[in-house]
């Protein structure tokens, strides 16, 4: 195959209305040469997984600030599995340290807390997708 452009789906499940963080990360990924499909706010797990299938993305970035990750992230991971969508999932936002092991346990590849350098996220995605 020729050189394939990396495609990333960026989505924000849950009800909080803060999209600054996810937009900053989306732009950084775009500037690094990736094609970023931005879904916007208030997406349900079903909407996110359906979009991931249709867009045939290499990775899925989730952002959440509301604390609902404990319910929504496992739901998303479950639906991905059910639909045999094998992609890298990473997350960002406000996620307490004590929740991180549980999330990694359900195959979320990395959690980026507030103040993460976008360069680190870009590097992470590039490395993971290349594998």
């Amino acid at each position: 195959m020729g050189e394939k452009n990396i495609r990333i789906l960026m989505a924000k499940p849950g009800l909080d209305g803060h999209d600054r963080g996810i937009k900053v990360v989306s732009r950084a990924l775009r500037d690094a040469g990736m094609e970023v499909i931005y879904m916007g706010l208030h997406q349900t797990p079903e909407q996110i997984v359906e979009a991931a299938i249709q867009e045939d993305v290499d990775a899925l970035g989730l952002s959440i600030l509301s604390g609902a990750h404990i319910i929504l992230f496992p739901k998303i991971m479950e639906l991905l599995k059910e639909n045999r969508v094998d992609i890298i999932v990473f997350a960002g936002g406000i996620i307490p340290d004590e929740d991180v092991p549980a999330l990694k346990n359900i195959n979320i590849a990395e959690i980026f807390g507030p103040g993460t350098n976008t360069e680190d996220i870009v590097k992470f995605v590039k490395e993971k997708v290349a594998k």
Binding site: M1, R30, A32, E35, V36, E50, Q54, E55
Partner: protein, 321 residues
């Protein structure tokens, strides 16, 4: 992409498998050598879908219109494929594909398939692979395919060639510089939509467009000018009716075949050009090419004779494949 994979995916596609459609669109976007193997397997199964192009300046409401129109068409029992094109960044080639933000209502409907696509350097408002993605959704069996262009705001002839009906959207308050563009849009529009009619100035825009047509109506079809406020779903049912009316007009006047002929003519020329350019780029990396340059400098040959030789190399390379 290996041959068996493509065979499996195209077989699944023809059975209506959406995941196969998604994977095949990725292949035609990324792998020029595999495109032929994909399209040649499905081409017989294309030509059933009604294809509608939607173009207009950034922010005019194309995605919102598609969201509403697709919902409406679903209520009428039709399945809808959507290809939403956005521009790639000229720096680094990345893209921010944001049309889905406006299409939330229709994301989980199994009778709708949405694919975002970056232009990847193509200028005409759609990508090189858009035409092939349309064929894939057509072969998947969707009744109607809506294509949103990247909205360069210029005359986007490519979308006109790719679709049965081209909708040009405009909005009030764009200012005078849009006038010149409107003239270019005249040639490609089968239907005009003046959106954001909930705002002031829509009637003036309608009047302006209609008056431009008073003297330029050479065709049998006079593009209607519709007012919509798609954010409130106002004008959607009439729009849907007019789209079908135009499609019927094409059918009744044997113009579908004519459009197809025009599309195929453009398409094969473009494909052949791409193949040649690709082969040429390979040859430019070769030793033989470097040697030709030396020979020209030494006056053993001249640039034109060398170009002839290069064309022979292109041919030889292609036959070898």
């Amino acid at each position: 992409m290996a041959e068996p994979d493509i065979e499996v995916l195209t077989t699944q596609l023809l059975k209506g498998d959406r995941r196969a459609a998604a994977k095949l669109i990725t292949i035609v976007e990324n792998d020029p050598d595999a495109v032929k193997r994909v399209i040649s397997r499905i081409y017989k199964n294309t030509g059933k879908a009604q294809i509608v192009g939607i173009t207009g300046p950034p922010g005019s409401g194309k995605s919102t219109l598609i969201n509403q129109l697709a919902s409406y068409l679903r209520q009428k029992g039709r399945t809808v494929g959507i290809i939403a094109v956005d521009a790639s960044s000229p720096f680094g080639g990345g893209a921010f594909l944001g049309d889905r933000i406006r299409m939330k209502d229709i994301t989980t409907d199994k009778g709708i398939f949405i694919r975002s696509m970056a232009t990847r350097g193509c200028k005409g408002g759609i990508a090189r692979a858009t035409g092939d993605a349309i064929k894939i959704l057509d072969a998947l069996g969707y009744d109607i395919i809506l294509v949103e262009t990247a909205g360069a705001g210029e005359a986007e002839v490519d979308i006109m060639n790719a679709s049965h009906t081209t909708i040009v959207i405009t909005v009030p308050g764009l200012g005078d510089d849009i006038q010149a563009n409107k003239a270019g849009m005249m040639e490609i529009a089968d239907l005009f939509v003046v959106n954001k009619a909930d705002r002031e100035g829509a009637d003036i825009v309608v009047y302006e467009i209609e008056s431009m047509f008073r003297f330029t109506d050479k065709r049998g079809w006079k593009p209607p000018v519709l007012k919509t406020a798609v954010i409130e779903a106002i004008g959607i049912s009439e729009l849907a009716e007019r789209i079908d009316e135009h499609f019927n007009y094409l059918k009744e006047n044997d113009l579908i075949g004519e459009r197809l002929k025009r599309r195929v003519e453009m398409e094969i020329a473009n494909i052949a050009k791409e193949v040649m350019v690709r082969e040429l780029e390979e040859i430019r990396k070769s030793e033989a090419y470097k040697k030709l340059i030396e020979e020209i400098i030494e006056k053993k040959t001249d640039p034109h004779s060398a170009a002839d030789e290069i064309m022979m190399m292109v041919k030889a390379r292609y036959i070898e494949k």
